[in-house]
Subunit: 280 residues, 2 copies
Amino acid sequence: MRNILFNIVELKDSFRPSEKKIAQYILDNPEQIVDMTITELASACNTSEASIVRFCKTLNLKGFQDLKVKIAASLAVKHSSLDGGIDREDSIADIVQKIVDFNKEAIEQTSHVTDLEELERAVDVLSNAKRIDFCGMGASGIVAYDAMTKFMRINIPCNYYQDNHLQLTSAANLSEDDVAVGISYSGTTSEVVDVLKAAKERSASTISITKVGKSPLVEVADINLFVSSQEAIFRMGAMASRIAQLNLIDILFVSVAIKKYDEVFEYLENTSGATSIRKI
Amino acid sequence: MRNILFNIVELKDSFRPSEKKIAQYILDNPEQIVDMTITELASACNTSEASIVRFCKTLNLKGFQDLKVKIAASLAVKHSSLDGGIDREDSIADIVQKIVDFNKEAIEQTSHVTDLEELERAVDVLSNAKRIDFCGMGASGIVAYDAMTKFMRINIPCNYYQDNHLQLTSAANLSEDDVAVGISYSGTTSEVVDVLKAAKERSASTISITKVGKSPLVEVADINLFVSSQEAIFRMGAMASRIAQLNLIDILFVSVAIKKYDEVFEYLENTSGATSIRKI
DNA sequence: CGATTTATGAAAATTATTTACAAAATTAAT
DNA sequence: ATTAATTTTGTAAATAATTTTCATAAATCG
């Protein structure tokens, strides 16, 4: 996890009031922070040292010193110019460059908002799953579908249904050895939330994949995985986030495959043969 | 500000004995320093806190905290390592970093293998299309599906069928104002080739999306778009290529949307409203 | 509206950093 | 080789910074 400033922007909405003040001050004066003491920062933010420390802990940092070090590191990295967005004056070459930068950035951000411990837990339950149900609607359905095609390859029984009734029926038949993965960029898709609730009722493990921050889906899931919530470019729905989600699926898949290396190796050989008959 | 580590190397000869020990330790373990206290560093260097402080002053730094901040900033220069591939000894953090690098690389490659003129032609025919059929099997089906969900948003009638018979039926009903987009990583998927052949028979425009190189699909399509063919990591199917393909779809979509800016603007507003009722 | 949870800051406790100073080591001069 | 001067160093005290505790205030919930 590297760019702490970006992290702060992302989490801003979920901060407590005093934390918001601190976040704002830091984002307004990042280069000053590294030269300030906790007491100076506290008074500059009209808050207390304790709140600064809590703020650091909220960010999963060891303490104020850690914050300073992370900010110093963040400031040393320069950003590609994605700010302007895409407009009608842009040439095809411009658009290619911007979309490329944008999608690369979305993937990069994933690693910054990824909680490795949470990821590890997800890999654990997925590795031990007797069956996995992937659930997502609309664009997130693509991600769920992609996940299914991948995990099928290593012989883990898994489902993805487009129809919410089928999703619910399937979830209602899960057991405690099974896993339901709910994918929703906003975290508010009621169908997905309902499926995870149904899965939970059956004592199955539940994993969410959403944008950073609180949401109904995050509330209901046992394990929460996040992708970046920056969707500034052009006026369109969750475009880059979908690539970030797929990137996360790749990570989960490879991690599970590595964990089950010996048995999986064989399956990959088999399915590689299967798709070489009908290349995709 | 100069890179402090570089600075230390330069000044090394002019240091006092105890300072040399400190300098050596810092250069040997720069990433550890930022997590150490002055006491820890002193004992690690077999010297005293006072010497550390003097060392900092020698470097014209305010003190030990300043040293940590400067080192953190120096370390924030990037290092990506894709060489080794992923193996069972890799930690979760390693896997995350490698997949992230890998997928970013796949996207970056897209822009290098993209023929802008060919892309421009593709954008032209897509912009003028009365109807678009997207066709792909397996993992490429995900890309076709994604493309459909996007182009639907700007009110271009389009189809994606999983069933090859339906794909062929749909293609058989295309006219010369329509476009068929065939997606296949290898370019050899017979179903996709057949669909484009059927489309061509009906005088529809045909676009292929494949890895670079000759293939049956490239032979049959009017316009050929390529993604990079690097698939070195881990032993698995076209994993990163799918992200590269999606990136290409993003480019096509945004380019078409920009081209039809005025009318499209309104549609995006509408569909944005539609999905805010049911957030994905 | 009361009960419970959550958020906050003052102050205490802890920990880290810096400084002062004396001892040790080194150097230079006889 | 011995001594004085100088430089370097570590200990311990002083200072400063950070973290924790805890009581209270604010917000939220039933």
